[in-house]
Amino acid sequence: MKSEKSRFLDKCYDRLYSGDLTVFEECFTPDYTLCIPETQLMTNAGYLKGEFAAEFLSHIIQGDAKNFDRTIETVREVEQGDTVVREILYTMKMNPNKPGDMLDANYPPDMKIVIRLMTLYQFRDGKICEEFTTYNLLATELDFAQGDLKKAVAKILKMEPMMKEAKAKLAKGELPFPPNPS
């Protein structure tokens, strides 16, 4: 039986991930803080704030959905007071009708990547005020490269200019990725 907060999280994030940004005012505090590996890599502060942060997250998730069949499954959840901790399996599966990852189209057709995420959600006055998510981005790149470290390194080096550009855009208050990259 899911708790009230758990159902609230499902509802809010389903809407955010589908690109419905009207959810922000309804479900998130204005000073919402997002700290995920991507914000750590792409900002000096390590996190983003407010509606801009929510939009950034929405774009990333929509980008994955455009490129892969994606499922998000909460496998464990612990709740105490205003904090909910979730262990999430984030699965990306190749789909012949989708273009695949932007930086490498040579993935095996049956490739499936499972990322184990740990996420902490903090609530204030019934709204989400903070999200801290961590996962091993490097291991994910290694999985994408089918365990071939040299291939993973080559992709990381290829990503470098894109990351630099993303960081510069975020510093100027611009979102680096379109919601549906082609």
Binding site: R76, Q80, R116, A139
Partner: protein, 201 residues
């Protein structure tokens, strides 16, 4: 399993600083277990862990022979000890803090923060790291307990951000360093397959 080099005086690995508020007895037990594992205290495995103990994290995934990327049983604790000592010896100071924790249903969730400073020169394939570099990791740990002992531990942190931070924000340098680490990781994996342990690179 006694450490070859003593913990440096101003470091706190092996004697974690608790910053989390109102921690419970399970969290205290878990922190004691891992501090003792770090310190190589004799009998630590029997005292704190079940015989079928399993641990899974970024480092184990790189060297594990198991499909789920875990290490198991007593050798996993030896590996934890070895890999952490390898890390600690590359830095002049490592501060270990438990900054947040939560307990429910025989599960302890904690956020641990490690701040490494005073690098000794090279680490994780990166050479000549500036002496004033300070890097911080925030990792989330889940310890699950059965009959008063830990039977499963999973931890997550982003090794990519960590590597890029050590490289002073230079992703290209971090990528090249990762390439250098490949051979070292293969050697660790081979040792694991032969039932031996060796310090992580």
């Amino acid at each position: 399993m006694v450490s070859e080099k003593p913990i440096k005086e101003n470091s706190t690995v092996g004697k974690t600083i608790v910053k989390a508020k109102n921690i419970g007895s399970l969290t205290r037990f878990v922190l004691d277990a891992w501090d003792n594992a770090y310190n190589g205290t004799p009998g630590v495995f029997q005292k704190y862990f079940t015989p079928d103990f399993k641990m899974t994290g970024p480092e184990t995934k790189m060297v594990s022979q198991e499909p789920d990327g875990s290490l198991r049983g007593k050798p996993s604790i030896q590996s934890y000890h070895d890999m952490n000592h390898g890390d600690a010896q590359a830095w002049g100071k490592v501060v270990s803090e438990c900054v947040w924790s939560l307990e429910a249903d025989n599960t302890v969730v904690r956020i641990m923060r490690w701040t490494s400073s005073k690098p000794r020169g090279s680490y994780a394939g990166l050479e000549n790291i500036p002496k004033d570099r300070v890097v911080t990791i925030n990792g989330v740990f889940i310890d699950k307990l059965r009959n008063g002992k830990i039977y499963d531990m999973f931890w997550a942190y982003d090794t990519m951000s960590f590597l890029v931070d050590i490289a002073g924000g230079d992703m290209k340098a971090a990528g090249k360093a990762l390439g250098k680490m490949g051979e070292m990781m293969e050697a660790v994996k081979k040792a694991q397959a032969e039932g031996k342990t060796m310090p992580m690179p």
